[in-house]
Symmetry: C2
Subunit: 152 residues, 2 copies
């Protein structure tokens, strides 16, 4: 690890940038009457339905934590629990219409805000940063908590 002697900058940079992104995420969520966790849930579900197990793995949550999160999202009619046709124990968590709309608005707003964080970078620098972060992310297998593009 520290063999290079100059790694301090990367670490602090990553931590602080992450703090920045968290703040932006929270602000976005608040704007749409969501908690950060609910926002994250919606973003994950934008790509496809998930079973509770996969959802927990993706979000990094224990299953017992997830039940409540999904419960509250169901109560707000953002999400539905559908029976899994192949396994009567299992459940598919799916966005409702309202949930999808809200997810897309939230997603867009968050993208805009995060984008603004990098507003000071010139085009090529942005690309360079994207490439470097991409590499870090790739090498550490992050679950798809946030789509790359709104692909539909």
């Amino acid at each position: 690890m520290g063999k290079h002697g100059e790694d301090l900058g990367v670490v602090a940079g990553l931590v602080r940038a992450s703090f920045l992104v968290n703040a932006v995420y929270a602000e976005s969520a608040r704007e749409y009457g969501l908690t950060v966790q609910q926002g994250q849930l919606l973003c994950v579900l934008m790509s496809r339905p998930y079973g509770m197990g996969d959802l927990g793995a993706t979000l990094g949550l224990e299953k017992s934590s997830l039940t409540g999160l999904v419960d509250r999202a169901v109560r707000r009619e953002l999400v539905r629990r559908e029976p899994d046709p192949d396994d009567r124990r299992a459940v598919q968590v799916v966005l409702t219409e309202d949930g999808r709309d809200l997810a897309e608005d939230f997603y867009a707003a968050t993208c805009r805000r995060v984008d603004e964080l990098a507003a000071g970078l010139a085009g090529p620098e942005r690309d360079r940063l994207a490439a470097l972060l991409g590499q870090v992310v790739r090498e550490n297998e992050v679950p798809t908590v946030f789509l790359d593009t709104v692909q539909r």
Copy 2:
């Protein structure tokens, strides 16, 4: 903002990298029997004592949220509330000996883990990433939630 057309990568990169850092931070905290917020509190206090107001501003918390956080840290003897000599309403939150030790261990462990996230980058790439993140951070005035180096 999106004028460049290729900004998608930066946004997703930042969000996912931040997810990664959060996970690492949480793991570190857990290792030391802390919550993420308590860890953050300790890290902030490593540099100097803070009044409740400044602390709230730095951590992005409402003062009412902070009271409880500090209370719990006090109960664990990680932190003390000292009277502010110049203002009898105010309080200085200071690390105890135990708190400083724990903060330093936690800080070191977190640095190590975050560093490992960037393990796949060659020296010059790390430097480049650090520089770019540094610029982003600088242009968005992040409070000092995480020291750059253990300066003592």
